[in-house]
Amino acid sequence: MTEYYTRMGDGRRVTMTKEQIMNDIQAGTADAADMASIPALNANDIEHMCEIIMDQSRVVGVEPGHEVVMTYDIGQLDFTGDNGNSGNGVDMGRLEAALLHERALGADTFELAHSDYSIKPVKPVISMEMQTMEEIQAEIIAPYFYGAMPNMGLYYAPDGPYGNPADLMREFKIEESMASSEAAAEHLARDIEFVTTRLQAAGSDGFNFDTTGSAGDADFVGTLNGVKKLRELCPEAYINVGAAGESVMGIHGMIEFEGEIAAGLYPHQQAQLVAKAGANVFGAVCNTNTSRSLAWNLGRAVTFIKKAVEDSPIPVHVDMGMGVGGIPMFETPPLDAVARCNKAMVEIAKVDGV
């Protein structure tokens, strides 16, 4: 029986038969459908995905005319960062990196980022970031944002002033843990307002909130409150909110945004709140399981994202990179897997951008 070259979720090369690939796609889509109570992929979608995975070409792509918007997170760090930071270790300035993305790599948008890539560490260097933003805006043509993770973990001990919920819960101090999450979320929203409004004043076209909710539901809510404030103060700002995972982790468990409990929300539900906060684009995410095949992961990811695209009141730009969107969790993800996952997201999930 013919075997097709494919990948596992950790990037390992494997071969699978068409039957095995189909079975894994079906299991992946069923898992997503069951978790989020959403429709599984239909027979045509599954067959199409299988054809994409079985394609004998190393790189696959979409038909001309079906291209989508390409934008990037993490700023220049994908060049300058080392391998442990999913970068290439090529040293260059932030201006050069921005122009390279615009003029050589075809990026439709790009962003300025600080090496810590989090809201909090930008505060002490805000004047330098504003100056750099102004300088690069004078040269670049593509929409140029500022990007950072809300990364609310930095507000908890030992890095910040609030008690760490993980430590408090381990001591069964559940109410204190919740209060700590709420205080950190308020602090985060204040910092978002401080950082984003200054960068907008320096000429930024907008802001990319990357990996929203990485510290759980309070991180998600704190960020949305910050987004809401940014929208009020800078109505012209182009705001992209990217998520941290397919489900918002319930570290608080009951914190709400606009009357909706954030814990456990799936991409199609996250999109509603992100839009309500005032964002222009939602960056939907589905994390990769390293022990499962690319077929399983892609079947699962496309199921979540397809539903998010259908339900979202704003454009959905799916997060496609190391360990997300069906792509293997590997510092430099294999090109064959990256190309297949992107094609499936455009042709089956119908995403607006990547």
Partner: protein, 215 residues
């Protein structure tokens, strides 16, 4: 409802007061306390764990359920000692931590709770724990197993070095090694010679119990 049902219900509704009431009633009625723990309180925790894995309840709920169970155990433990009874504890001690260089601890803490519920004595020695310190903890607590969690590809490599350090310390054969964390796979466990790969807290409880019930 039976006492077992009441105990299970108290845990699943995170009701410390009710859990203590059920425990006191069981003591007063000279009920089978071992059965109450295993078929009542622990059964409730197992269901909460399953709901957590299905993302129907969240971490604070798991902790609140564990708090209710702990409150009941404070009442039942002295009675167990008095009667000389043994719960299916005695499965042994497990040392657990997040490995050197890695500060992620939530998943590891959930595993620690589920192992406790399964009947292990758990020594949770923290996060970002230097390898030599983990070896020292293994010498001190003499565990039946040691579990290390790594949430990053850059820290999972320490799990391999840890295997070598256990061998160098002459204690590798006296315990099982367990590896977990998002980038960790069965293949990685096989490659470095770890005994158990566990994907999540429920998986850890099931595999640890199976490994030590056999022995």
């Amino acid at each position: 409802m039976s006492l077992n049902d009441d105990a299970k219900n108290a845990v699943m509704t995170y009701n410390n007061k009710k859990a203590v009431e059920v425990a006191k009633k069981a003591v007063a009625e000279n009920a089978d306390i071992v059965e109450l723990i295993e078929k009542g309180f622990s059964a409730g925790m197992t269901e909460v764990g399953a709901l957590f894995e299905a993302k129907k309840v969240y971490l604070p709920h798991v902790m609140a359920a564990a708090a209710a169970m702990n409150a009941a155990m404070d009442v039942l433990n002295p009675e167990l000692e008095k009667r000389g009874a043994e719960v299916s504890a005695g499965l042994g001690t497990v040392v657990i931590c997040t490995i050197e260089g890695d500060i992620h601890s939530i998943g590891k803490d959930i595993v620690a709770i589920m192992l406790k519920v399964a009947g292990f004595k758990v020594e949770n020695i923290g996060r970002d724990v230097p390898l030599d310190q983990i070896v020292d903890a293994c010498k001190k607590y003499k565990p039946v197993a040691v579990g290390t969690s790594a949430l990053m590809t850059s820290t999972m490599v320490h799990q391999k070095t840890f295997e070598e350090k256990l061998k160098a310390a002459g204690i590798r054969d006296s315990l099982l090694t367990n590896v977990g964390g998002a980038p960790v796979t069965q293949q990685w466990a096989d490659e470095i010679g770890a005994d158990l790969y566990t994907e999540n807290a429920s998986d850890a409880a099931a595999k640890f119990t199976a490994a030590f019930e056999k022995k």
